[in-house]
């Protein structure tokens, strides 16, 4: 039985756990480095100069704050709650990933690291990592599953333009989890000079907490902006969940506001009932240990990790950040799936009604909003994190819709 905590915002504990989730399950070679990283992060977090530099870059380089936009035509179309978009797709590089990358590159520099490695699924984190590495003059190696390299060609070329090296990973199924395995192998080999820039709020402690803190700018701005517009808190906040970094960034500042309903939307793929046909680790998985943390995982009965499936390369990951697993078990956040088909519909509706082509990842969150908004009163408000733009997805969406380009 789970005891309800007094606050949902105090985790993790000193060993890096959110309840039973999180921790530091890594090889001994990495352990001293992870402890160094934790120390460096704790020092940076208390250093006003670190925050000042990050804020300056966020404003002048990334384009923060991102607007909070009232989606008027979508609201009219659905005839229920008022829908707002937190427009993190307008950030430099086209997604929320830059928030975390700017924070971590400053930390890498502070630690004296001279080489950056990163994993990427859809390529958004790879592009953001390549971008900040270019900005700070550090060589960057991006590991990307060979399957994803194929389905996200524009982002592969972007990374190369930015001076990064992209290594296609063919081991395993050649998707995001295999890219992460390969990045960990690189890190364990080049531990002295290399900084591993993890893209989501997962991995060994302190990454889940650190990435959350860098992404919390999303929720903090949302709270201020919504209050400035409406003089109150929103009734519901919604975000998509792969590893869950944009979601934890939006959710965390609202966790101790009990009036705010919080919903995370996982990739339901072909459907939750289809074996290995979705990437909804919390709705359809069980707790396990992978990539340095304990969390909900897609796995078989023998503890072998499944590949999962999603139309969105960015949600196609068999795990999820450990804080989400804890928020699920405590009941503070509701996690629901949206299928490939529902996300594709939402993608098109948003493009036509709002003139905004969303990425396939937040299209999942939008798909849930399409379901819930009509059931809510017109004086209620929903904020959706529009975490990325859909330019990268137009080719694959055309493919799914049977259009030739």
């Amino acid at each position: 039985m789970t005891v309800k905590p007094n606050s949902f915002r105090t985790g993790p504990d000193e060993r890096g756990f959110f309840g039973i989730f999180g921790g530091r399950f890594v090889a001994e070679t990495l352990m001293p480095l992870i402890l160094d990283l934790e120390k460096a992060w704790e020092e940076a977090r208390e250093d006003p100069a670190f925050h000042a530099e990050l804020k300056d870059l966020s404003i002048h380089y990334a384009g923060r704050p991102s607007p909070l936009y009232f989606a008027e035509r979508l609201t009219e179309h659905l005839g229920g709650a008022r829908i707002y978009f937190k427009r993190d797709e307008l950030n430099h590089t086209g997604s929320h990933k830059i928030n975390n990358c700017l924070g971590q590159i400053l930390l890498a520099r502070r630690m004296g690291k001279t080489r950056i490695i990163a994993e990427t699924g859809a390529g958004q984190h790879g592009v953001a990592s390549a971008t900040v590495s270019a900005r700070f003059g550090l060589p960057c190696m991006v590991y990307m599953g060979a399957v994803d390299v194929e389905r996200q060609k524009p982002n592969v070329f972007r990374m190369k333009l930015l001076g990064a090296e992209v290594t296609p990973v063919t081991s395993g199924a050649g998707t995001l989890k295999d890219a992460m395995n390969e990045a960990l192998r690189d890190w364990v080999t080049n531990v002295e000079n290399t900084y591993y820039l993890i893209g989501t709020a997962a991995g060994p402690h302190p990454y889940p907490a650190m990435v959350r803190d860098f992404q919390s700018v999303i929720g903090t701005e949302t709270k201020e902006q919504f209050f400035a517009q409406k003089g109150k808190l929103p009734d519901t906040v919604v975000a998509c969940i792969g590893g869950g970094s944009n979601a934890i960034g939006l959710f965390h500042p609202f966790l101790d506001d009990p009036s705010v309903q919080i919903v995370g939307v996982e990739a339901g793929g072909h459907g939750i009932d289809v074996e290995n046909g979705h990437a909804a680790s919390m709705t359809g998985g069980r707790p396990g240990v992978l990539h340095g943390n304990r969390t909900y995982l897609l796995q078989d009965g023998d503890g072998q990790i499944l590949e999962g499936h999603s139309i969105s390369a960015g949600l196609d990951y068999p795990g999820v950040g450990p804080e989400h697993s804890w928020l699920k078990d405590t009941g503070r956040v509701a996690y629901v799936p949206a299928t490939d088909k529902e996300a594709l519909e939402a993608f098109q509706i948003c493009s036509r009604l709002e003139g905004i082509i969303p990425a396939l990842e937040p299209s999942h969150a939008l798909a849930h909003v399409l379901k819930m908004a009509p059931t809510m009163d017109k004086d209620k408000s929903i904020v959706l994190c529009l975490s990325g733009r859909g330019d990268k997805d137009v080719f694959s969406v055309a493919d799914h819709l049977g259009e030739t380009m």
């Binding site: 060993r15 399950f25 001293p32 240990v289 503890g303 072998q304 990790i305």
Partner: protein, 279 residues
């Protein structure tokens, strides 16, 4: 800790004035029956300790050779139950060669640590090496394993400094596995001088035998590394030899078992010569 098959075997090797040869193969690679025959062949050809890999879909600390071995085993239907069966059957004809299961935590976690250590002990397992369980996580599996009478063998690495070594060694038993390089299994050969220094450093902190692995692929390296270590671990080279002996569909051939026997005999001659050479 009381005497175990592992401590007895290292003591026997020390009495013979040589390091122990520790060999790693993946359980179920390329299939269950062949891997049982391989395990028996390892013992018959001069391996002193057998490490059996528990295949895992996401072996983050392993190089291509051992990754591929795990995938072959999983494709062949290997499960944890079968791995424990393999040990049980090995024990029917060999009561003395220590068996150490090596792998990653998740397949054990989903089975339940307490349940797993009892099953492993009953099957005849002597020790565990779990790559992704540092001493900070000792309550997960290490303490239950020690409670069940299994050795828990910890990896020490070039990044484990003197400050951290006592924590790493605190609950370690059986032997200490020194990872000779920062890297994954099957990487470049280690620098013997640096390894000797590191082994000396570890031995100042513990009375346990220290075995050295990662990057040892032939009798010459085994001999070189074995001069200053209590054991030499060979894994990727054996697994690669298995891979090279398979047919186009990944099935065992008549060459598979003899290839392993020959390689292990050669490695065994290497460790037996380690202290003979004039230094």
């Amino acid at each position: 800790m009381t005497e175990t098959r592992i401590s007895r075997r290292f003591a026997e090797c020390a009495a013979q004035g040589r390091p122990a040869l520790v060999t790693f193969v993946m359980a179920g690679d390329p299939d269950l029956e062949t891997s049982l025959t391989i395990a028996r062949t390892l013992a018959a050809s001069g391996a002193d300790v057998i490490e059996l890999g528990m295949p895992f879909s996401d072996p983050m600390a392993d190089g291509p050779a051992i990754q591929a071995a795990g995938q072959r085993a999983l494709k062949g239907g290997q499960t944890m139950t079968r791995t424990l069966d393999l040990v049980r059957r090995f024990r029917e004809s060999d009561a003395t060669t220590p068996i150490v299961l090596m792998g990653y935590y998740n397949p054990i976690y989903v089975r339940g640590s307490e349940h797993f250590v009892a099953e492993a002990k009953a099957a005849g397992v002597d020790g565990l090496i779990i790559v992704d369980l540092p001493p900070e996580a000792d309550d997960e599996l290490c303490l239950p394993a020690l409670g069940a009478g299994l050795n828990f063998i910890r990896l020490a690495t070039p990044t484990t400094d003197d400050k951290r070594l006592p924590a790493v060694l605190a609950n370690t038993s059986g032997f200490v596995y020194y990872v000779s390089i920062t890297g994954i299994t099957g990487s470049a050969a280690p620098d013997a001088t640096k390894v000797a220094e590191a082994v000396g450093r570890i031995k100042r902190h513990t009375a346990l035998p220290v075995a050295v692995g990662f990057g040892v692929r032939d009798a010459a390296t085994a001999r070189e590394i074995g001069r200053n270590a209590d054991g030499v671990v060979v894994g990727s080279a054996l697994v690669a030899a298995i891979a090279a002996s398979l047919d186009a569909d990944g099935r065992a051939t008549a060459k598979t078992v003899p290839a392993i026997g020959a390689l292990v005999a050669d490695l065994a001659s290497g460790v037996r010569a380690a202290r003979l050479a004039s230094e």
